[in-house]
Amino acid sequence: MQSLQTQETERLVSDPVPGITAEPHDDNLRYFQVTIEGPQQSPYENGIFQLELFLPDDYPMEAPKVRFLTKIYHPNIDRLGRICLDVLKNNWSPALQIRTVLLSVQALLASPNPNDPLANDVAEEWIKHEDTAIAEAKQWTELYAKPTQSEPQPE
């Protein structure tokens, strides 16, 4: 376990995924501070979203816990930042890694799935008036995920 975690951390640091950063917390190496850039051509473009990721004791037998800290208007992410994503729940496999999970989260931003909602109001809006929903999402991104206010850019 120790070795596994070290390896993953190491890879995250040495070989970062474009648009994603993940840094272990100084006091608790199981706790990661994550940022994900909003994918291009999505309503979240130009936003930088803060997340927290926690590796449970049983990792990798159990999925890591991931939560959005930045407010986001998304049918599969609720008010508390919880994420509805198959690989974080039933479809978790120990062969997955932190980086693959974060990539999935990024992909979820690129393609919201209102048919399997977590935030019901958002999903409803998304299905009924997609345009306004997207506009809303853009607005939220502008409001809460602005790089300057939410994050002092690393380096």
Partner: protein
């Protein structure tokens, strides 16, 4: 903690603080397929990844094969299958009974793991020479090196890498000689004939060889290195880059010859003979643990010789874990360890999982006492957490205590002997007018004891 940094800095050049940490933590280094990306044969990263378990990301240990064609460490997959019944890679249905041992992969892996360090060392060499040429125009020794270097074409990845490293060149790098013993060689370096590490010549001559001779556990490493030296023509050509090293190696090769020859075919032989070995084919039964009463469970655990304290839930967990260890060891591994080692692993697991419960802490100590290791220290117990308890380290750690004990024993033995002699002497020379000798001597002995 500082393992976090051990290898990270081999890709991203970090601060020298990290580098010193690297040298300080020899205990357990974390390897990564990307280690090969900066060598002459970056494709080896692919092979390196293939030999790893997708669950723990480490090299396959006692690998088993699934019907869907995937390999995992026996322990890793068995642990996962206790929770879910599917293959982690393809999600097809899978249960423990479907797992098949595969000795060949096991031996390929362990053979590769032994070779890995020397492979890395050999394959990164030209790149180091490159750096040396750029900054240190050396004496005669290295003129050869320079020529050699010109003949070797630069692969594109190397150019990038060396450019990145170049900022370390210059005086500072010369000052940091010790930190770079593994891959980065800035000073005039030579290979230690014993542990096959590259060290600055001055240091090597002054102290290192002596140290090396003292620590016997480094011998194993040099085995694999020697093998590579002689069996792989393309690689041994490269060794000529290091005239000093070559001389040393040759002089020592006679010493290592026997070990070496055993080492070359070791895994092959073990693989071929695996059918002949008598194997302890007693699978621990899968019990319906929940239906057993606590007392019955206790009995089962006691029968197996593992601790039977704690509540039922703890006992169930303990049995499950032990069953897993047992089956993966006696069933899947080509090189099974004995039961005592299994029990040690069990206690290490329990220590990690029930660290909060003081009662369990006691049971572990008791278990270890059973294994004749009563003088546990807290620091060594911590090592158990990694499940790679280092016997040599243990021996080293306690060598001083052992020596003390030995001295003490010898001293008291001597004293006793002296006392005896004195007594006999005194009985002989009782008539002599020197009555004081006897009482004082006895007193001394007593106080010393």
């Amino acid at each position: 903690m500082h393992q976090e940094f051990t290898k990270v800095d081999s890709y991203i050049e970090k601060t020298s603080k990290n580098q010193s940490m690297k040298t300080s933590s020899h205990a357990e280094t974390v390897t990564n397929p990307r280690d090969f990306l900066h060598t002459n044969v970056p494709q080896l990263a692919d092979l390196d990844s293939l030999l790893r378990c997708h669950i723990c990301k480490d090299f396959l240990s006692a690998s088993v094969l699934t019907p869907c064609g995937h390999s995992f460490c026996s322990i890793c997959i068995r642990k996962y299958l206790q929770k879910e019944s599917k293959c982690p890679l393809c999600l097809s249905e899978l249960t423990e009974s479907m797992l098949q041992k595969e000795f060949l992969v096991q031996e390929i892996c362990s053979s590769y793991v032994k070779l890995r360090d020397s492979l890395l060392q050999h394959l990164t060499k030209p790149f180091n020479d490159d750096r040396r040429n750029n900054e240190i125009k050396m004496t005669d020794d290295y003129i050869e090196v320079t020529k050699e270097r010109r003949r070797t074409p630069d692969s594109p990845s190397l150019v990038g890498a060396s450019a990145k490293k170049r900022k370390h060149d210059g005086i500072t790098s010369l000052l940091m000689k010790k930190k770079t013993d593994h891959r980065h060689r800035e000073e005039k370096t030579a290979q230690c004939p014993i542990c096959s590490k590259y060290l600055p010549l001055s240091e090597l001559e002054a102290s290192h060889i002596d140290q090396c001779l003292l620590s016997s556990n480094t011998l194993e490493r040099s085995d694999s290195f020697e093998i590579l030296d002689e069996r792989t023509p393309s690689l041994s050509a490269e060794t000529q880059d290091q005239p000093m090293a070559d001389v040393d190696t040759q002089s020592s090769s006679a010493v290592l010859k026997a070990d070496e020859q055993k080492g070359v075919t070791f895994h092959n032989e073990r693989y071929l003979n695996s059918g002949l070995q008598q194997r302890k084919e007693v699978r621990l039964p899968r019990l319906d643990l929940q239906s057993l009463s606590a007392a019955q469970l206790k009995q089962k655990l006691a029968y197996l010789g593992i601790p039977s304290n704690g509540n039922k839930q703890q006992m169930v967990a303990r049995y499950k874990h032990y069953e897993m260890l047992w089956n993966s060891n006696f069933f899947d591994s080509i090189d099974p360890v004995d039961e005592i080692e299994l029990k040690r692993r069990l206690s290490s697991w329990e220590l990690k999982n029930n660290a909060d419960h003081s009662s369990d802490g006691n049971s572990i100590t008791n278990l270890l006492r059973g294994n004749k290791r009563s003088s546990l220290t807290a620091s060594m117990i911590k090592l158990f957490n990694t499940d790679r308890f280092d016997r040599n380290a243990w021996v080293k750690h306690h060598s001083s205590a052992f020596k003390e004990l030995k001295l003490e024993a010898m001293a008291s033995h001597k004293q006793a002997k002296l006392k005896k002699e004195n007594l006999s002497q005194s009985s002989i020379v009782e008539a002599e007018p020197n009555p004081e000798t006897i009482p004082t001597d006895t007193k001394d002995t007593e106080t010393n004891q």
